[in-house]
Each structure stands twice: as C-alpha cells, then as structure tokens.
Amino acid sequence: MAKKTEDIAIVGYAQSPSYRQAELTEPQFLYPVISEALERAGVPRREIGFTCAGSCDYLSGQTFAFVMNLDAVGAWPPISESHVEMDGAWALYEAWVRLQHGDIDTALVFGSGKSSPGKPAEVFPLQMDPYTLTPLGADPVSLAALQARAMLDAGKITEDEMAEIAARSRKSAVNNPYAQVKGDDDPAVLLKEPYVTAPLRKHDLPPISDGASAVVLATTEKAKELTDHPVWIRGIDHRIDIHQPGMRDLTESPSTRLAGKNAGVKGKFDFAELSASFSHQEKLLCDELGLGKDVEINLSGGPLAANPVMAVGLTRFVEAARLIAEGGKKRGVAHATSGQALQQNLVAVLEAE
C-alpha cells in the first residue's frame, strides 16, 4: 500500500505585475519576485533545499533562456536545481514530489515568461503535431475558438455567459495591482464588439503578458516553524488528455475531472483560481470540478486579466495563498493548464490551518 503523502505548505509567495511589454529582461523582473517570496517565507536564500523553475525558451526566442533565469536565484556555489519546460505550476509539482523524499525541508519554485517579443500565433503552433497542425498555424486562439464553438453548439454555454465571465473577471481585477486588463464593463456592450476569431471576441481572449511568480514550499514541521499562517496543499494531481485535439471532445476535460478527483476536490470551497485563459473555459472547468455558484471564481481577475504564460498557472497558487494567508479564506482550488484547449491540467486543494 502506498505511503501517505506529507502535507506541504506554501510559506512564501510573490508575483510581478503583468506587463504588456516588459522593458526589463526576464531575469531582471524575476529577481525582485524571488527575493520577495524568500523574504516573506523568512528562509535565507542559501538554506533552500531545492529550486525548480518553469519557463519556455521559445517564448523569448533564446536558447538556454532558462539558464539565464538562474541569475535571479543565486546559483553559486552550485545549488540543487531543476527546470521544466512547462508552467511554473508543474515546477511546483516537481518540488512537492521532491519534498516528499523527506531529506530537505524547503523548496523555491518560480515561473516566468516574456510573450511580448514573439507573435503568439507564430510561436505556439510549434508545440503542435509538426506534420498536420504546425503548418496549419494551429494557435491557441484558433483552437479555443473551435472549443467555444463546440460548447455553444452543445448548449453548454452562451455568448452572453462568456461576456459575463469576461466582465466579472475585469471587475475583480480592479482590486488586483498586478493585473493588466481591468475595468467596469457592461456585458451587453462587450457583445457588440466584432469577433476576433468567431465565436471569440476580444474580451474572451487573455491579454499578451510578460511576468513572473514565485512560491516557497516547506514540509509540515518546517512550515509550522516558519509561519503562523501556512497555506496547506491538501491534495495535488495532474493529468493529460490526448495530444491531437481532433481526437478529443473539446466540450469536456476528462483530465481536469480526474486530477480534481485525485486532488480531493469535494465538499465546500470558498474560492477557486482557475487557469481559464478563454472565457468559455471557466464554465467547462467549473463543470468538471463540480464547483457551484457558491464558489467565488478568479477573484484576482484570472488569466483574462493577466496572462504571463509559463507563470500564469503558478500565479493561481500565489493568488490562492494570498486569499488564505491574507484574505481570511479557508479553502480553495488552484488549477493550472498546459497544451492546447485545456489538454493537460493540474489541480490542487489549498487550505488554511
């Protein structure tokens, strides 16, 4: 029988503002984020047991950009360190697994990305099947539009609901100093805008963002020593659906459902921070995770308000930790996604003491 996993806590967190075009380099804007997360945790840089980063060289268009990012960590003398070519949320998962070994008690996790130098519609098709989909230019907006169309046709959402989700996200983001798209918009007015890629309008799309976030994790004993307000990761899991979008029913996300079940998503939740990069995906994720009307979704504004790709999933953990450690919330869900049209999904249950 498998050994029960140890509860790991978030003891430090920070994020950069979401920039449309950062003037600073990625390590330059990562630097204060990592320092702030470590300071909040009260863990000296040299005492961190394991460091894991998530980023993508294709975004900034520089080979080994992820190595440059270590400039912001302080990696000399050498540290124990790893990198995933994925959102920082998966770096958090790797660090969570590493902490289960029991020989170290803290880990630093960060995610960062600069989407502004390239054109997302050119860069993202490169992650697709190189024979049939990359040459077609299958980018996230096109695939999300197909998904939204499938959901509309299946009666799982309406364009009105999509505009309401977008308007609510922008309104929530007004209180988020890190958000990029915010304001008080009337859904009826938003619906008068033309389509960008039918059936998606501008408000259904995430902004193009540069940014970073960081989290410090600690084992049960260490977390209690470091803080009176640890944010416990009670369960975490990630699952993947088939790579070829043509072989999926885009109106469902079995990987989200399974990851949610394995992470222990049941019972009452105060809030959820979901990586719904397109408005319709919020509805799909809520349905798959069984989150009802009583759960407040993306109080930060979510990815529709700030979308630093490769950090945006980890930022869900940062926002969730902030709501619990500083906002008086008790229990929430953090979700991250990877691939196209919610292909791969990571779900965690976070709780106050």
């Binding site: 400039d71 600069k114 490169l126």
Partner: protein, 184 residues
C-alpha cells in the same frame, strides 16, 4: 480501414519540407541601452559588484553570484586592451542559412584593469596562430559605420557593427599561469 492501412505499408515514404520562420522583437533593457550608448561613444562600460568586485560587461543590473542589484553608481569604464584567456575555433557546417564558410576563432578576453568579454572576434591573425596569452586591442568600426543594431538583451553585448574585433598588439604573450582563472 485495416485493409487500407496494410496497403499503405507498401507505399513509398513521402517526405515533406516545412520551413518555419519565427521573428522576435525585443526592447533593449535600460542597462543594455546605456551600454549601447557608450559603445557609440567608443567607450566600453561594465558594472562592478559592490560585494565581490566582479565586473560585468555588458552590465546585467545585478550580480548573479552575490544576488545584489547594481546600477549607474556601480558603472565603470573598461580598458580596451587585454589578453586572450581562452578561445574556440569554429568550423562552419553548411546547414541551411549558414553564412560563414571559413574557420574562425571566438575568444574570451581579460581586459587590463578588470572585466571580461566572451565570444569576441579576432582580427589580423590566422586562426591557427590564436593562442592563450595573446595580447589584443579593440578595433572600432569607423564613426560613419559604427552602430549598435546588433546589441540585444540576448547577445553577449557587442555586435561587430560597434567593435569590429580585437587585433594583436605585438606585445609579448602573457604566460598562462599569470592569467586569472575566473571566466566572468
């Protein structure tokens, strides 16, 4: 379905060319802009870490070893003369898009008075004569030709359009054991 798949196994393999082009436009970060402006004035600048004293050229805006920020107050001008501390001879492979045809050397330099530069071009010397300890000096592009178009956040700082390369000074070589061991 199964029948057509079986038939396909005997068909000749068909190849497909797919050329992709992805273009990036990045704004120059503030410290690199200062570095580029200095190059236009034929000056080479760096930041000296207030803690360990290492000099970074081009400046980074922090010392990655000590993890402390650096700014204009840590700026200093570097000498334009130095010593080859290491080098690599590159033999160009003629892949698609390759513009180089002849062997060439890229050198690491230790500048007199402090500071290092990586991946520098050497001029006026045959590739086979390049050696550790060689004394060199900067050869600037002329005022009319000099530009900083090749300076980016992602480069090692100096495009050939500003400093064309480094040429031997004719001074005796520095013995290898007198060279510093640090790379940066």
């Amino acid at each position: 379905m199964a029948e057509s798949q079986a038939a396909d196994l005997n068909a000749p393999v068909v190849g497909m060319d797919y050329h992709m082009h992805v273009q990036y436009h990045e704004v120059l970060c503030p410290v690199m802009r200062e570095f580029a402006d200095a190059l236009m004035d034929k000056r080479l600048i760096g930041h000296k870490c207030p803690q360990c004293g290492l000099i970074y050229s081009p400046p980074k805006g922090y010392c990655p070893i000590c993890v402390v920020p650096t700014d204009k107050s840590h700026e200093l001008e570097l000498q334009q003369r130095g010593t080859v501390t290491n080098y690599t001879i590159v033999t160009p492979v003629q892949y698609h898009g390759q513009e180089e045809t002849d062997r060439f050397a890229k050198a690491s330099l230790q500048l007199d008075g402090g500071g290092t530069l990586s991946l520098q071009d050497l001029l006026e010397i045959p590739v086979d004569d390049v050696r550790i300890g060689l004394r060199v000096e900067a050869v600037w592009a002329s005022d009319a030709e000099r530009n900083v178009d090749e300076v980016t956040n992602r480069s090692w700082g100096i495009g050939e359009s500003a400093i064309r390369g480094w040429q031997p000074t004719g001074e005796p070589d520095v013995p290898a054991d007198e060279l510093p061991t640090n790379v940066f």
